[in-house]
Amino acid sequence: MRLTTTGSPSHPFGSVVGILATEDSGRKERAREIRLVAPGEALTASNLAGYRGLLFCNDGPESRSTPLIQRLRESDHLKDGDIVVMEGATGLVRSLYRPRERHHHLFVTERCNSNCLMCSQPPKDRDDIEALTVRNHAIIDLIDQPPSYLTITGGEPTLLGDHLFGLVSHLKAKMPDTEVHILTNGRTFAWPVFTRRFAELDHPNISLGVPLYADIPGVHDYVVQAVGAFDQTIAGLHQAARNGIRVEIRVVLHKQTLPRLLKLAEFIYRNLTFAEHVALMGLEYTGYTPLNIEELWIDPFDYRDQLEAAVEFLAIRNMNVSIYNHQLCVLKPSMWSFAKRSISDWKNAYLPACEGCSALEECGGFFQWAVRKHSAHIHPIEADRVREILNVSA
């Protein structure tokens, strides 16, 4: 699904964040809204007054005060209530928050102190923190219906330092019941002062999602391309636990992480017993992954036994374990009940080989980009077989 479009800014302005509106919802609301004007809509100056910004599919009127972008290339994806940003410098219009979706993110920085081989969002050495922090506070202000879940992601969110604490405090004040999940490499939490301050924010529904790729430093540090990262992450997880911060462990399955996967499961159980969830995730063929594919790719069908062993190891120990980004037809049937449909609405797709499959509803399908790189064993599953498997695991 489309998230960006471009047009021509009427005059120079900075970044404007607002709620997209396709019709007039009253003068009081206009100060928060960005009005999208459809082709052929005839509006007077007073119809357009008071909006935070204006978007025109065709040519718009001259504007020197209200930020305006005209001749948008695409507008079908823009829906009422979406929170969007208009960039005066580039004419870019980006959807930041769409209330109808299940998955919501606050993207807080492109900076990162790691450089994972399979990063789906390759980091940049450009200081974007101040600007994105302003934008994210604006988004939080504009969310009317607090979502059930919200993920803070980057880059590495802890590089925000005080700004991260500010965002978490804002979320706590505005939507305390929203479950906030921070995707972090956990390294910064090794600093007791940082972790204590984070804990003192006392957000009632917050947890960390921290990747761990091996039970030994060499492999983990290679995967994240940072010397000492393993030790820092382990120390960070322990500081978090000591301060009562909930954590999830995330493992991406690939050529580097699979050989010691069962031993990693054992390490997690013995050393990180406090983890409230362990997510075993399939590789995403995007970002850095295509660049490093030789170092990463193993057909999920070929590691299904290792995956089952690790999942069972954790499950019999009452650890909460899930499998993400895997198609049911390449998993052992015993693993179906652990597989979660985690792929974002706008990311998932199916292959021609999926045609006639009776498990589509239960299956997560593919990331769109996975259409280019996927298991050689994707196949439809017959209805009887699906019923049989679902009955037994129920």
Binding site: R111, C112, N113, P123, D125, R126, D127, E156, L159, G161, R187, T188, A190, W191, P192, V193, F194, A226, V227, G228, D231, Q232, A235, R242
Partner: protein
Amino acid sequence: MGPASSPAQATEIALVQFDRALFSEEVVLKGCYWLARDFICEIATADSASIQVTIKPRQSSSVEALPFAKETLIQSVSDFALREKIDAKTSGIRDLLLAKAFSEAGVLEDAPTGTFGDKIEQENPQGMFKILGSC
């Protein structure tokens, strides 16, 4: 390298000699301790270079078990010698670990080490980790 053993002088006893250069009195004693249910071990200093153990069964019925007892003793003394070696290398760390384990949380904790920042962070004299490091 193994302990020298001499043939038993009588069928009712077994003799084992341990080279002092390889085995301390302590480890020989520990080995003998575990035979004590069924055997009596007499420990003597044969000469300045070795320790001699005489193994006698507690009950005459255990005479057949003497070769096994001897083998057990040799293995067990070697293992205690290994333990002694490991203990010598690790007792300091054990003390440290126990002190850390039973001190108030955080008191004896090590400060984080290594590089934490990205390039921008490292180049910033006011970087967060520099501030954290000086707390």
